[in-house]
Amino acid sequence: MLLENKFFRVLDVKRDDNLQAIYRVQIVPDCNVYNGHFPGDPVCPGVCNMETIKECASLMLGRQLRYESIKQCRLTALATPVVCPEVNVTVSLTETGDAFQILGQIADEKQTYMILKGIVRYNLSE
């Protein structure tokens, strides 16, 4: 996957029987994305956090998922590798025909960084 072991690293997983899991992940501080976002001022790109939510859901299913739509994604606090070196990525999937509704959240013990609601599927049409 694109960002696993590059932007984030899974430290621990708590799964239940349904399509829900909490991934404890490290935000990798020496990821090269911080060379450009921003020079001398590392800030986690919001889109990388969106990708992290999707990749954790993909890990849970054991299969690569793709966003088809994001109804709403709120970035509620600025995430940086210094502010939040480790976060909990909570993902929940609900099957809807040939796709899944995805609910994702990134938070630590102090605050919530992202809340996302969207649709993922195995393949986007080509």
């Binding site: 694109l2 090269n32 994305v33 060379n35 450009g36 976002h37 921003f38 020079p39 800030v43 790109p45 919001g46 889109v47 990388c48 969106m50 990708e51 999707k54 793709r66 966003y67 088809e68 739509s69 994001i70 109804k71 709403q72 994604c73 709120r74 970035l75 600025l78 969207g118 986007l124 049409s125 080509e126």
Partner: protein, 144 residues
């Protein structure tokens, strides 16, 4: 508004740098609309082994297109550094296919009014006249 050559260098308009620069060029600015371009290259940060970029890469491209638009306005107003903006919210993002190596993304941004430091923008991304993605976003600009 006409973009002069002097301010059209993308590094003058957006604060992002390699490896996550997701706009090559501002093509046109007219009123509240701006059109930007990005060619998908092998070294794109979001490039995957199948030769297509991950979907959030398109969101970043739209966000940086809006950032470039803000940069054009800031430079026209006399700023020397590109403004740093953050995505506050993504709403109603839809993508029909992932852009592939060599695709040229043309994105039209429409910027709404700024209210208390928050601007609502909408973006539509096309490849060869085919709409591949669209979204709305709230963007915060950091005041330094």
């Amino acid at each position: 508004m006409t973009i002069s050559k002097a301010i059209s260098k993308i590094e003058d308009l957006i604060p992002q740098r390699s490896p996550i620069m997701m706009v090559d060029e501002v093509l046109a600015v007219e009123g509240d609309d701006c059109t930007c371009q990005l060619t998908i290259r092998q070294d794109n940060f979001f490039m995957e082994p199948d030769g297509m970029i991950a979907e959030p890469g398109v969101i970043e491209h739209i966000a940086q297109s809006a950032s470039a638009f803000a940069g054009v306005r800031a430079v026209a107003a006399g700023a020397t550094e590109p403004p740093v903006g953050y995505i506050g919210e993504v709403k109603n993002f839809r993508i029909t296919r992932r852009p592939k190596l060599g695709d040229v993304l043309i994105t039209k941004i429409t910027m709404g009014p700024e209210v208390q430091g928050v601007t609502i923008i909408s973006g539509v991304t096309c490849i060869m006249d085919e709409t591949v993605a669209e979204t709305q976003m709230k963007i915060f600009v950091r005041e330094d």
